[in-house]
Structures are given as C-alpha cells and as structure tokens.
Assembly symmetry: C2
Homo-oligomer: 218 residues x 2
Amino acid sequence: MADEGAVLDALRDAILAGEFAAGQRLVEVDLCERFGCSRFAVRAAIPVLASEGLVDVQRHRGARVRVIPVSEAIEITEVRRLLEGLTAARAAERVTAAQAAELADIVHEMRAAVEAAELLRYSDSNARLHARIRSIAAHDTATRMIERLRAQLVRHQFTLALIPGRPAVSLAQHERIVAAIVARDPDAAEAAMRDHITSVIESLGSLEQSASNQSARR
Amino acid sequence: MADEGAVLDALRDAILAGEFAAGQRLVEVDLCERFGCSRFAVRAAIPVLASEGLVDVQRHRGARVRVIPVSEAIEITEVRRLLEGLTAARAAERVTAAQAAELADIVHEMRAAVEAAELLRYSDSNARLHARIRSIAAHDTATRMIERLRAQLVRHQFTLALIPGRPAVSLAQHERIVAAIVARDPDAAEAAMRDHITSVIESLGSLEQSASNQSARR
DNA sequence: CCCGATGATTTTGTAGCCAATTTCGTCGTA
DNA sequence: TACGACGAAATTGGCTACAAAATCATCGGG
C-alpha cells in the first residue's frame, strides 16, 4: 500500500462494500492497521471521501460512515432521474448499430436473470446497462455526477432489489428504455428513463413509510 | 491559519477569485508561505480541491489550476439546466408570500442595475436570485451539486456578462422565472428556468465558435 | 441514582526527514 | 549550431515523532 491513491480506493471500496457498520467511527490507527499503511495516508484519504459525501467528519470527533436517510436517498434519486434521463436521450442520439446490439444483449441477460430469480445477477446486469448507456452518451460531467450519487446509496439499492415483484417491473422499464435508444428516439428514451427512476423513487418512498412505521412501533 | 478547513477555504477562494493564472502550478511551499501554514495543511487541501474539479493533480507533477474548456463549460451548464429547473419548480411549490416578495425585490434590483448599465451589480443580483430560489426549493442535494458546478466556471461567467445586449435578454428571462414561481406554477417555472439556461448555453456556444475562429486564424 | 471531575483516548496540527521523480541546465559531440 | 545525454536542483510523496486540543469514559462524591 504505497501511495495515497491506493489507500483512498481501498477505503472507499470497503465503505461501499458495507464493511463498516452504519455510522461506525473510522479510527485512524485502526484503518492504518487494516490497510497496512501509515496514518498519513489515511488522513489524506478521509477528506476526499468526505467531499464525496461518503463519510462525515466533525472537528475532533473524527470520521464516521455517513448514513443516508431515506429522505435524502429520495432527493439523490430525484437528481439522478434528471441526469440519467439526459444520458439516455444523448445515448439515443449517438448510439451505433454495434452499441445497440450490445444494449440488447444486456437486456437479454437481465431477462434471463429475472426468469432464473437470480437477484444478484440481475442487479449486476442492471448496473452494467446503466453504465453502458452513460458511456454511449459520452457526457463526462453527467457521468461523473451520476456515479458519485450512486456511490452514496449503494446500501439502499440492496434493499430495493429485495422487494417482491420489483425485478419484473424494473425489467419491463429497462426494455422500454433500450427500445427507445435503439430506435434513436431521444425524447422517448428520456421519458422511459424518467419513468423508470420515478418508480424507483416510489419504491424508496414506501421504504420510508415502513421505516417510520417501525420507529413508531418502538 | 490553524485548521485545515481554513486553508482549504482560503485556497479555494483564491482560485475562484482568479488569483492564479490559468494552468498555473500550485507549488506547495509557495502556498504555505502565502497562507502562513504548514505544508501538511496544504497537502490536505489539494486533494479535496481536486475532487471538486478545481485543480488537476498529477503524480509527482503537483497541482495545477484546472482550465475548463468551453466544451466542458457547456456540458456543465447542460447539467445545471436540469438541476436549476428542478429547484425552480420546487420553489414554485413551496414559496411563501414573504419569499415571493423577496424574489420580486431582487428582480427589481436587477432591472435597476441593467438600466444603470452596472454589470457587476447585475451579476451580483443575478447570483443572489438563483441562490434564493435554491434556498426556497430546499433541495439540499440539488443545491450542493449546482454550487459545485457553478464554482467550476466562475471564469466563464465573467466573459458572458460582457456580451452586448446579454443583460437585457437575461433580465427578461429572470422576470419570467420569478413570475412563474410567484404564481406557484412549477411547470412554468421549470420551463422558464430551462429556457434561460438554454440561452446561456447558446451564448457559450458562440464563445466556442469565436475561440476556434481565433485559433484557426493563428 | 445522578452529576461532575479527572484521566485516558483520539484527533488535530506542526516540524522535519529522506526517497522518488520530474525538470531544468549544462556540457559534450555530431 | 543543433541535438542528446548526463547531472544537479527542485518538487512532491511518504513517513515518524511530538505537542496540543478536544472528546470520551470511568470513577468518585453528593
């Protein structure tokens, strides 16, 4: 673990992989031990993660893994709806025949995963599809922001995939998105993507309700 | 200059104020001297500014003030168009009578500045209006991203205000935005904001053309 | 049982060291 | 003169040690 960038990536990955409990304190010496590096490297990485919104630092109180409340997850997804709508539209304008075939392949893979009820495989293909759409859109600014936003709510995405019947609904929405892109119809692609993410927001909203019910029951 | 946060803010302000030439190297010891702090503080601040897109760091080559090409400024503004459209719509949903009066005041101020041909005052009121709309919208995520994007192109905004006739056009657009918000019409507010920022993008596009003409003439 | 004080833990900030790498200048040669 | 190789200086990367400030936890007293 020589350079600062490696520690940064390792720590970021660990947080995104959920290897720290929600709200857990990140004690510098512990992280040094874990990653086999000096405190210096850790202290260089933490401010960056803070600016990425993954950890929360308070003066003299150290860093904690930031817990994103559902209400904020909804805000984030509202922004993501706009940005991914933009990338979908641009992808529809720029897509080549080869890229269109690739998108169709990924959707095919998603359908197979749903039929086999393999949630993890579905979730993976899902992420790949969105990533491929972004790369076709070639809008660096939007891509950067989407990826940063996605990183902030990896935890929520896990819980979302477990909602019964959600993959089937999600699959149909993705098929619509890809159909519009392949048809080179930017407006339809943007609308389809927004509808898809709107339904994600609605699912998050139902999570918020059940969460508040639980806390009320305590 | 005790804490790292102060150095970070000071350095960020200095960059945003244009106190460094475009692409200038940021030598650590120089910054220490300038801000009267240790190298440690500088070295903590630079990665954060890099993640904010204000500086560009390369291994063993140090940090440089990042120069944003016009093409990227256009991308950034395209994203900002979506985000500010969102805040305008939400502001229209949430605005109180007192806030509506405040917006009207700022527009009045803008009109006065245009009539007096005071570009700096106009630019300032302009920024205040957008900021006030964001605070009324109370969408933390969108606000954070807009402010980060704006920071990346402060330089371009200077040049934009100098286009002859632009303030008058801009003023009318802002009046339309505020009218829609005051009328509590989210769709109209979003449309008006998008139209406004679309015209900003068009102005940036004309800058790009003149820039490429200049380079072609060389 | 509750509250405050004290000590330990943790973080923050500084100073300085050496290694690695880049960059710039100089010298030698074609 | 022009060009390339070599070397020295400058700069960053990474580290350790240390002092200071703040927080946390434990313990004792009321």
